[in-house]
């Protein structure tokens, strides 16, 4: 006991993957496990496991049927995705192609020479590169080299709401911060949690700060931090945002038990769909998850709107935060680079875009607009598309934009803020003191 703590973690992760997740999702293999009937030469493709991964499964199936190569999709449970990835890439079990959040999230891999530079491939096949919105393709760059191919829909963070709950209360979705506080009073009075919050996942809490800082101080505040100047945290907008969060908690905006509610297990979304909560601030992937868990709710009673405006904010009310997209990256030790490139090209195919819109997603391919009417919900697709088109800036989720050591420290501090262990002013000080890693 207590011996070899760190190294035994790897053993633990394997055990947890088999013991915990294996129990629930028997068909899923552990990361790095042998392929099933695909053969030893197959590309090992890792994707974040959620309701939308059937799009990637369909792409793998089409790819295998096309004869261009063989691939096997490894649906890795979202909790601990990044640590499994790091251990695999740091060892000999690296996947060939893997899901990630673009440039900043793979910078350490690129710097360590673990990734395949996709720039030559994109230069050789200009039509492929032109299939994607340039700004989104750029989000997959590290320095001046391309390392990622957009492979899901664009993911702005939105306010989702339960139309039935709003109709019962006779109110309409919030447009301003005053609306928010008024709605909190109304819903808490009725015993409905105003905002479902997956407080067990610090990244869900982080979304509130991302939007509030952007609304109060504009995108420049975080941009400064992202570029390495930690004094950016001392911008008054950060303190103001933290105070607004504390105010929300004290008003009961998130209920009492949010710290035990997770997102990946569907906790927060279930609160919303069952009418126990009125709203949820979440990435646009919420739609796909609701559609999988409760199609009737997703199609009939799920509403969405933009993050409310604030008074005296310097930020643009049209600005959004979230993830421009997710990306495929290829590891340097890829078994068969040509097969991997052929697999990447599936992300630009019409069938792939059609599958994405079928999940309520908005692809970031240049011809996405022509698919929107085929969406699971054309209104939702059109709303997202317009929102992102109109947005003056699209701030990448802070935890994906910062170096991992700093991001982890930041998430811990945000956990503490939401648990009232840190006062807003202490948060600012502590953020400034975080290691850059």
């Amino acid at each position: 006991m207590g011996v070899g703590e760190v190294l035994s973690r790897r053993a633990f992760l394997g055990r947890a993957a088999v013991g915990a997740f294996g129990l629930l999702t028997l068909p899923a293999c552990g990361p790095g496990g042998p392929g099933h009937g695909v053969g030893p030469g197959a590309l090992d493709v890792w994707v974040w496991q959620d309701a939308a991964d059937k799009v990637q499964q369909a792409a793998v199936d089409r790819f295998n049927a096309s004869g261009a190569g063989r691939a096997r999709l490894n649906r890795v449970p979202g909790d601990g995705y990044e640590d499994k990835l790091r251990v695999a890439i740091g060892s000999s079990k690296a996947p060939d192609v893997f899901f990630n959040w673009g440039g900043a999230s793979v910078k350490e891999y690129a710097d360590a020479g673990e990734l395949l530079d996709l720039t030559p491939m994109l230069q050789a096949d200009t039509a492929f590169g032109k299939a994607f919105l340039p700004s989104v393709l750029q989000a997959g760059m590290v320095g001046d080299r391309y390392y990622g191919i957009p492979m899901r829909g664009t993911q702005p963070v939105l306010v989702f709401y339960n139309k039935a709950v709003f109709a019962d209360a006779g109110v309409s979705p919030p447009e301003t911060w005053d609306d928010v506080t008024a709605l909190i009073a109304i819903f808490t009075e009725q015993g409905v949690t105003p905002f479902a919050l997956a407080g067990a996942d610090a990244w869900a809490e982080l979304m509130w700060l991302e939007y509030l800082v952007d609304r109060f101080g504009g995108p420049g505040v975080f941009e400064r931090v992202k570029n390495g100047d930690v004094r950016g945290w001392r911008d008054p907008a950060v303190l103001r945002a933290a105070k607004a969060v504390v105010d929300l908690i004290e008003r009961g905006a998130f209920g009492h038990s949010f710290s035990a509610v997770g997102y990946n297990a569907g906790g927060a979304s279930a609160l919303l769909s069952r009418g126990r909560a009125a709203m949820q601030l979440m990435g646009s992937w919420e739609y796909a998850n609701q559609l999988a868990a409760d199609p009737e709710f997703a199609r009939g009673r799920l509403g969405w709107t933009t993050f409310p405006t604030v008074t005296d904010g310097r930020g643009d009310p049209d600005a959004v935060v979230g993830n421009p997209n997710n990306f495929w990256s290829v590891t340097a030790g890829v078994r068969d680079p040509e097969a991997a490139f052929a697999f990447l090209r599936t992300a630009a195919e019409d069938a792939y875009a059609a599958d994405l819109v079928g999940q309520g997603a908005v692809p970031t391919t240049t011809d996405a607009a022509s698919f929107l009417d085929r969406s699971a919900d054309p209104a939702f697709a059109r709303f997202q598309y317009d929102l992102v088109q109109r947005a003056s800036t699209f701030t990448v989720s802070w935890d994906q934009a910062l170096p991992s050591a700093q991001a982890t420290g930041m998430l811990t501090l945000i956990r503490k803020l939401f648990a009232a262990q840190l006062a807003p002013a202490e948060l600012v000080e502590a953020l400034t003191a975080l290691p850059r890693g």
């Binding site: 070899g4 703590e5 129990l23 710290s259 279930a270 991992s404 050591a405 956990r415 262990q421």
Partner: protein, 311 residues
């Protein structure tokens, strides 16, 4: 444990060993080999990593004592150490009496005891992760069983995990549910070793059930109490999976114990060097605590003859 400690058990024991011709050191080689490969070698690597900066990719970079001086001034480490201490003390205080009573009770004769004992021992067969997941869903404040039961019992809501005290209690309860059976099994075995004549003699002297427990059973179980306590204390210092799954160290960081902090630094922040320093510090503390416990309780002098010593 050997030097200058007079006791008749030592020479007599040594003599017995010679006479009965027990196996030589060679027999220990397989166990030692495994120990070296899976305990000592990783430990040495962790010790080395604690002096490096490494993000899990490429080669570790030597940084000297930087991680160790950071560790000494890190408030998160101090906080996590405090939580580990609380969890250890709480675990001991909750599990020892429960396991002792359960073990002694189940040591008695009777079919119903045997059946119930078998049921009590079931958690031993389950993996920690499975136990934690099951309890997490049962204790879920919105959709768990407790969410249905709490209003009936007069609670407003079942937000066990939203206060530090509640989260700690939930951890202690689940860890107890999982580990009490093991310790009860130790006590059951030990209680059955207590010579029946002692109880009979005490009963003749007019001692009741409670008196016999305090004056006969408990003193006879002394060595088992020590063994069980050492296992509990050292085990508590390294609790990880249950905490990760059940509370994730929350609310905030109020149940973040040292192993979880190691995990967060190592596998979320990818500061493998710093995480190794914390882990190695934990190894040092755990080793020191277990050695101290063994010394203080005289566990090292325990011999197989102690039961007969009581006669």
């Amino acid at each position: 444990m050997s030097s200058g400690r007079p006791g008749r058990a030592v020479p007599r024991d040594a003599g017995t060993r010679l006479r009965t011709g027990r196996p030589g050191a060679l027999w220990a080689v397989p166990a030692l080999g495994f120990f070296a490969l899976f305990a000592l070698a990783p430990l040495a690597i962790v010790a080395y990593l604690s002096f490096t900066s490494w993000n899990g990719l490429g080669a570790p970079e030597w940084v000297g004592w930087a991680n160790w001086s950071r560790l000494l001034s890190d408030r998160d480490v101090r906080e996590a150490a405090w939580h580990s201490l609380l969890l250890t003390v709480g675990t001991w205080a909750f599990q020892t009496p429960a396991a002792l009573l359960l073990g002694v009770w189940s040591a008695g004769r009777g079919r119903h005891r045997a059946v119930l004992s078998a049921v009590f021992l079931l958690p031993l067969l389950l993996s920690s992760a499975a136990v934690a997941l099951v309890w997490k869903s049962l204790l879920d404040p919105n959709f768990g069983l407790v969410a249905e039961v709490a209003p009936v019992l007069g609670f407003d809501d079942a937000s066990w995990f939203s206060t530090p005290e509640g989260a700690f209690s939930a951890l202690l309860f689940v860890l107890g549910w999982q580990f009490i059976p093991f310790h009860a099994l130790l006590y059951q075995g030990a209680a059955r070793q207590v010579p029946e004549v002692l109880h009979q003699a005490a009963a003749l002297d007019g001692a009741g059930r409670a008196r016999r427990f305090w004056s006969i059973t408990l003193p006879q179980l002394r060595n088992t109490v020590v063994a069980s306590s050492v296992l509990m204390v050292v085990g508590s210092l390294t609790f990880f999976d249950t905490v990760l799954i059940l509370t994730g160290g929350g609310p905030g960081t109020s149940t973040t114990v040292v192993p979880l902090l190691v995990y967060r630094n190592g596998f979320e922040g990818f500061e493998m060097g710093y995480a190794s320093a914390i882990a190695f510090a934990l190894v040092l503390v755990s080793t020191a605590v277990s050695l101290l416990l063994v010394r203080l309780t005289g566990f090292g002098r325990m011999s197989a003859t102690s039961a007969r010593d009581g006669l």
